[in-house]
Symmetry: C2
Subunit: 277 residues, 2 copies
Amino acid sequence: MKGRIEAALTEALTRMTRTECPPKLAGALHHAVFPGGNRLRPTLCLATAQAIGEQNPTLVDAAATALEMLHCASLVHDDLPAFDDSPLRRGRPSVHVAFGEAVAVLAGDALIIGAFETLALSAAATPALLGPLTRVLARAAGAPFGMCGGQAWESEPGVELARYHRAKTASMFEAATMAGAIAAGHDGEPWRELGRYVGEAYQVADDIKDRIGGEELGKPSGRDDAKDRPSAVRMLGLDAARDLLTRHARRAAESIPACAGREALVARIDGMLRAFN
Amino acid sequence: MKGRIEAALTEALTRMTRTECPPKLAGALHHAVFPGGNRLRPTLCLATAQAIGEQNPTLVDAAATALEMLHCASLVHDDLPAFDDSPLRRGRPSVHVAFGEAVAVLAGDALIIGAFETLALSAAATPALLGPLTRVLARAAGAPFGMCGGQAWESEPGVELARYHRAKTASMFEAATMAGAIAAGHDGEPWRELGRYVGEAYQVADDIKDRIGGEELGKPSGRDDAKDRPSAVRMLGLDAARDLLTRHARRAAESIPACAGREALVARIDGMLRAFN
């Protein structure tokens, strides 16, 4: 599955960085996407489509690619000095350190646009699915319910933790399972809960790692405290946060709808969640 | 036509800033879009659709709205300290001055995402047109051929003027006429030249205004020189730039395909181009 995701991402990035692309922007786009992290969102999208019984592999690949491009765009912008001011991402210089702030902003913008373009270029054979897919991804990435909304809560004096996590992180995991189902020709709604609980588990795990040290993430720890950012650990304490993670993981497995590949998907999700811990 | 564009933009922005939206982000989104400038791109889109004989008014409105949202996003990001560092836009504080840099980056991101969402939400009755529309707008806004590509040339040591202008500015005017035609149920390609020449005329007019003073734009003049940015005036001189503007205007009028409302559109384009001067 990993090879399939990398191949689809490579195709999309090649399209965007062909000869007419300004060299620094082309470099920044590649740097933002390769080498990747754990590619959780596209993996969840593909795993869902495969569990259902995959139709339209071209469109499933496009949905997985678009999810990862939107995610990478959010990391590039999130690392900027006005946000986390992170000099490192995955152990390498972040995009604005390597290519400058202006090019980093543009690379994020181009990745967002490229995500929707990738969907549209791959939907020629299945035009009726493009609208639902675009709506699911846009809702998860934009305002008010998606990543942009979630990130913007960090600029407000107070926010309810659940709403913040849901918008900033869980929304894209919801979109991953729903987009996998839609691209495979099925209704996305029954798959929302799976994505939501995997996403919430991931966010709590991330908060725990922020507290206990995130060397394997290639970024410094203690940022939530330093930035006075809402965090499950800060609000509940470490033990209660670990309990919450376990509950989310159980709910994720329970939520998986009946389908041909249910057992395999339960095992795959379980492996994914163990890797968070 | 102006009232129709403002109504469609208001609907899209209301959707994005409903109660769950963080207040600063909601404020920044409104500030970025209202009150607008001359709404050239959506006007050109609607004028094209009307000249052809308008079908699918909901989709035409969505295309016009999406064009303006992408344009406003580019202005918000272009005003950031890492780019033009403009404290003013249309005579008011720019978005990052009024709401902070982080919220300005997110507002631009959310407008880009909202543009594609608006198209997808309005294409339920005409699903076959969503793919072509999305592709045209994404190409015009993204990399390598659209605004992101064009802006990124400003971070390179050298660039051919025509390529820079085409990507940064003319691409969105091309998209305006093509999207108007596509949304109205016609082929977009015959309308590309009209958009291209209107866009190139606009860019040359903008370069001339930058040199002779742009008080009516609500922004300072002489920025192209200060930023060492490619400009028709800097490369050709003021007189030759004015000749080029006249040639682009004539080509724009000549390029309009035969259609029911051709005469009215010729007059409308002529008025638009006179307003540039």
